[in-house]
């Protein structure tokens, strides 16, 4: 994690206390949301376990010995949920799926790659898209299948693709 560039707020102790002042809290929330998403993106993680997250460096800055409380974590996750970046996987809210890009955005990214490589009207397998050699330098390389499917569904809704069993056809 040495190469992850933490934002300045991460070294600011009040960042780890949910601020009561509404205006201040709004700014704090923005900072937290973007930190969570960039961190997840950096570590290429598509899900988050709340129990695990409590001890992860994301919410615990050992250098200044500050830790975000469980309530605080939920406050931030609620905010992310409101913004459509996470989805709870269970009713007790222990596991969630994190999408640092929304499925629509992913759809666009994939489609622009497809167009750039002239692959319109061809069929790709899911494996090709996420694990194939041609996509290693793409952001969606290594993407989990559930998210890929969702992204492709949005393209399908726009009549830009047709999803099949294990593959997809782009138009």
């Amino acid at each position: 994690m040495a190469d992850f560039e933490w934002p300045w707020q991460y070294k600011f102790p009040p960042f780890f206390t949910i601020q009561p002042n509404l205006e201040t809290r709004k700014k704090q929330m923005e900072a937290w949301c973007s930190l969570v998403l960039t961190y997840q993106r950096h570590t290429k993680k598509y899900s988050l376990d709340v129990t695990e997250a409590q001890s992860s460096p994301l919410f615990h800055n050992k250098a200044i010995s500050r830790k975000l409380s469980l309530d605080g974590i939920y406050t931030i996750l609620d905010e992310l949920k409101k913004r459509g970046h996470i989805e709870w996987q269970d009713k007790v809210r222990k596991q969630c799926l994190v999408m640092w890009r929304t499925p629509e955005e992913w759809g666009k990214v994939i489609y622009s790659w497809v167009s750039a490589n002239g692959m319109n009207n061809t069929v790709c397998t899911f494996y090709e898209l996420t694990e194939g050699d041609s996509t290693t330098n793409q952001e969606f390389h290594g993407m989990e299948k559930w998210l890929l499917l969702r992204a492709l569904k949005t393209l399908e809704a726009q009549h830009k693709a047709a999803v099949m069993d294990e593959g997809v056809k782009f138009f």
Partner: protein, 383 residues
Amino acid sequence: MDRFEWCDGNLYTGEQLVEQQTGVALYDGNEKTAFEFGTLILTTHRLMWRDQRNRTCVICLPLSLVIYLEEQPSGFAKSAKIVVHLNSAGANKGSGPFNQSSNSFIRLSFREAGEKGFLRRLQETLQQKKWATSVPGPSGTNPQLPRHRPGIVGIERSLDQRNKETDKNITAAFADLRQLMEKAKDMVNLTRTIATKIKDKQGDITEDETVKFKSYLLSMGIPNPVTRETHGTGDKYYTELARQLASMLTKPVEESGGMMTLTDVYCRVNRARGMELLSPEDLLHACELMEILGLPIRLRTFDSGVMVVQSQSQNEEEIVNTTTVLVSERNSLTAEELSQLLGVSVLLARERLLMTEKHGGVCRDEHIEGLRFYLNLFLHPPS
């Protein structure tokens, strides 16, 4: 079972707790009774049984009635029991749950075990016969008063007695105070004459003497406090009181950083008034009027409910600005540190920080070491 009497569960003087066991049922002879689930308490004088579901239900049995004990070991679906053979009760027995019983023994059923230890202690206690050496009397009450005086007359009489006693105590306590008050009246009169003399002989005595006299008066407090007797009871009393408070408090409030908690004000005012003490309510009413009267100080209630008297020159914006500057100079501050910096109470320092937080000047860091406030970098990010 008819040997038991009701009791309040308290120990007599000289009586000591020896052993207790929960989950004990009482049997009248071989028959079950309603006393099924309770704590059996052995003292040096008595055997007590307290219901575990209804703890006000307590019955007791003097140990002097016990003739001998017998052990019945537990069997299939049967708990261990101790059989207690009893003498017939004495004539002065109090009322109990059973008026008469054909059995001259009771059985103690130990449903939660513990009968071995209890039996041993019971036997030891019976051998020691402590009840014979010290006669139990109910603790706390006056021995002259018979414990049970029946009927309303008895209750009335005991109430009367208690009232008389209180009355006597109060009179004794205040006898000293009355003398003190008479002396104090003289003192107040003295200050009054000095005050008028200063007024009359303004030119005759030197400046030095005037200052001296005035300092005497100050140490004695307010020469002629506004009281209900001198200023009536209505609004006039409060307005006059407010004016007087303002004139005496303006300087100390300024000195203590423009703010003083209402409790401090209360102490100071009553210290200055000496004998004519103010009630907290009167003080509050008077302080509430200060703003309407346009006096240099006024009452202010913080969001947390803390009330302070604040000098008019002190406005919110200024407090927010100075606090923000103080915090930014030192990177972070706790209420304690700020109170030391400003020389105000911790409570007020905290209020200042909370107010500044409300205005977005600072933000908080809640940590095990306490609540710290930092410059609000969220709203004013570092460049």
